[in-house]
């Protein structure tokens, strides 16, 4: 079973899932926990800061509006106290005073008027024709005549435009009279409107009946004004007298309200802002945090997936190598037993072969003395005996090589003629090559110097390479070429085949122990590794060049001394 099939095994699939789960949980749990806690603390803190900031602003603004009203009231109080009613009843004098006030405060003061105890405006200075105007039925007059000073709600009055008035009551000859000043609604409204935050934040004023005392910057849609006023006032109240509340308007949009009482509690300055606008920074921060968590989560997920797959692949590889190693140990044991068996058989076969050869020789000896009736028969006997002798000699050579190769411990360094070793290898493999339709060719340079190394080891290397070449050509046939030549001080031996070649991906690993592309039980994955080890030990180099569908060539470079 190769590595890809192994990965589909339920055990390794389960292992992958477990590793993936553990890595994800271990990585994501702290990320989510820490991010959640930080986000929660940030939200709470942001809420507190925003409320404190808005409360401070509204408080300052209410103080500012109160200051404005008080200042204007003091102006009128001063005028009423400083001048007599006779002086103020002089229209010219009153106009001069109005002009002085308008010079000082711009268009805040629209007009001035003196109203007697009957509610008739006896003197008037201003742009409207309100001389002798009758206010006895006006609500403001009824309130103003009863108190030293009075600031009215916004009303339309006789002029038909929104305004409010400031009055100061004085006594003359036992009768009260009132100095009245109209405050420009536009000037007052601009002060209220001054409070603008964000895209939707604006301020407006309601009186205790829930009526607008300023023009709201945006449309304020609520059912009943009075209930709205009461709802605002029933919100959370701080020690500074600031009210906080959140309400949905008729369209369902959640708004934030911050309010403060002004004008001695008659009016309520209200700041309104769309909640999503007020908390836009927090929402933005939450979105960034969510993006970071999601990105981190995805990265962790991908990393966990890759990591677990890679680790399981390594485990599969290690398990495969372990199994191969176990197989190898069994294989080596088998080979050792086979080697010993072969050596024993070779010893035992040698004697019968020797006897056969000798007997054939003896028959030949007898024939030399004997008389044959037919020359043809004699020739045939001689041919047969010669064949027995030839084949006996061949058996002897095979047994010699088999025994020589079976000597595993023989690593003594000796002078070796490399061409002889190559020819031995060719003769060893000749039979197998014949059955596989493989033609073995050799291009051996003559008069090569002898080389000092272990005969058994170099034989083993060349046999391994030859066996690999034959394996690659087993089904299709082909050519194997063995070459030897001298290049400088190096002996170069090449074994080239025109087989299917080695894929580039495998080339870098073919000298690794236990790396094999052969089916399980066929290849041990040790052959080339042993070759590499032997050649390196000798002080040589081994490399491979291969082109898929063109063939493979192994080059061995051995250091040699010239035997001049």
């Amino acid at each position: 079973m190769n590595q890809e099939n192994r990965l589909k095994d339920p055990y390794y699939k389960s292992l992958t899932r477990k590793m993936l789960f553990i890595v994800i949980v271990v990585s994501l749990a702290p990320l989510i926990t820490v991010s959640g806690i930080i986000l929660n603390r940030f939200s709470v803190s942001y809420n507190e800061k925003l409320n404190a900031h808005l409360g401070e602003l509204v408080l300052k603004h209410s103080q500012n509006i109160d200051g404005f009203l008080l200042e204007k009231l003091n102006n009128i109080r001063f005028m009423a106290g400083a001048f007599t009613v006779e002086e103020l009843n002089n229209a010219e004098f009153l106009r001069n005073n109005l002009a002085a006030l308008q010079t000082e405060y711009g268009s805040v003061f629209e007009d001035l008027g003196v109203v007697n105890d009957k509610g008739i405006q006896v003197t008037y200075a201003g742009p409207f024709k309100l001389e002798k105007a009758r206010y006895s039925d006006a609500e403001w007059f009824r309130k103003a005549i009863k108190s030293d000073y009075f600031i009215s709600d916004v009303f339309l009055g006789l002029r038909g435009t929104p305004h409010f008035i400031i009055t100061v009551r004085q006594m003359s000859n036992g009768k009260p009279w009132i100095l009245r000043a109209t405050i420009s609604f536009v000037a007052f409204n601009s002060r209220v409107e001054n409070l603008r935050i964000g895209k939707t934040g604006f301020a407006f004023i309601l009186n205790s009946k829930g009526e607008f005392q300023s023009k709201p910057g945006f449309e304020v849609v609520h059912g009943k004004s009075y209930s709205f006023y009461e709802s605002i006032k029933s919100g959370i109240k701080t020690k500074d007298g600031v009210f906080f509340s959140e309400m949905a308007d008729d369209s369902g949009k959640e708004n934030l309200y911050v309010a403060s009482l002004i004008k001695n509690g008659d009016w309520l300055l209200i700041y309104q802002q769309d909640k999503s606008d007020a908390f836009s920074d927090l929402t933005h921060a939450k979105q960034i945090a969510l993006f970071i968590i999601l990105t981190g989560g995805i990265i962790i997920l991908i990393t966990a997936l890759l990591l677990s797959k890679r680790m399981v692949a390594r485990i599969v590889q290690a398990d495969l190598e372990k199994e191969l190693m176990n197989q190898q140990v069994i294989e080596i044991g088998k080979l050792a037993s086979l080697g010993e068996l072969a050596a024993g058989i070779a010893h035992e076969i040698n004697n019968p072969v020797a006897i056969m050869v000798e007997e054939a020789g003896w028959v030949h000896d007898i024939m030399e003395d004997g008389q044959f009736s037919s020359k043809e028969n004699k020739d045939e006997f001689e041919r047969a005996l010669a064949q027995i002798k030839t084949q006996g000699t061949r058996c002897r050579e095979i047994i010699q090589k088999l025994l020589s190769f079976a000597r595993k411990t023989d690593t003594c360094i000796e002078d070796v003629r490399i061409n002889e070793v190559i020819n031995d290898v060719i003769s060893f493999c000749a039979q197998r090559a014949k059955f596989s339709n493989v033609v073995i060719k050799s291009k051996l340079q003559e008069n090569l110097p002898v080389i000092s190394l272990s005969h058994t080891e170099i034989l083993q290397v060349l046999l391994n390479l030859m066996n690999n070449a034959l394996d690659s050509l087993e089904k299709r046939g082909g050519n194997i070429t063995l070459t030897s030549l001298l290049e400088g001080d190096e002996m170069v031996i090449s074994i080239a085949d025109d087989g299917p070649g080695i894929p580039r991906a495998n080339l870098a690993r073919i000298f690794d122990p236990f790396f094999t592309t052969k089916p399980v039980g066929k290849g041990t994955g040790l052959g080339l590794s042993i070759c590499y080890g032997i050649i390196k030990k000798i002080g040589g180099e081994i490399d491979v060049r291969s082109v898929v569908d063109a063939g493979t060539t192994f080059h061995i470079r051995l250091p040699c001394r010239r035997n001049d």
Binding site: H347, N350, N351, V353, A354, I355, M356, V357, E358, E359, G361, W362, D365, G392, T393, C395, R396, I399, Q400, L403, S404, R407
Partner: protein, 143 residues
């Protein structure tokens, strides 16, 4: 006149018998032994044996052990060792112990005859030198 007196030592009876017949046919006086002990006995009884063709692998006493005794007791006898082992170690060991040469089984008859003849000649030269030396010694004593 016989070319040489040979003692053939091998545990394989058919090999021994055939080889004896072939060597006899080639005018060698050939006796045979199936093991080391018998070979030593025959050498003790027949001092005319010049060359021993001694198999390396034999039961009881193997060729190398037999060789040691031969070299010790019969220094004039030359030994050729045909070996089924074909290992360089056994050959080197045999040569170190004083064997004249070695052969690889199955032996080529011509090669065997050639080596036996050379061994016999060497043995003859060696014997002549010894006799010459003995004669000189006797002469010197007389003088």
């Amino acid at each position: 006149m016989a070319i040489a007196n040979i003692l053939l030592v091998d545990d394989e009876t058919p090999f021994r018998e055939t080889m004896t017949r072939r060597l006899t046919k080639r005018e060698f006086i050939t006796s045979s032994a199936s093991g080391g002990h018998e070979a030593i006995r025959l050498l003790e009884e027949n001092d005319y044996i010049e060359v021993v063709v001694l198999d390396v692998k034999m039961p009881e006493m193997d060729g190398l052990e037999t060789l040691k005794i031969i070299r010790q007791k019969f220094p004039l006898v030359e030994v050729i060792m045909p070996s089924g082992h074909a290992t360089i170690e056994s050959a080197i060991e045999g040569m170190k112990l004083g064997a004249f040469d070695y052969l690889i089984k199955p032996c080529d008859m011509e090669e065997l005859i050639s080596k036996v003849s050379e061994a016999a000649k060497k043995r003859k030269r060696h014997k002549e030198k010894i006799i010459e030396a003995q004669l000189k010694e006797i002469t010197m004593r007389r003088i």
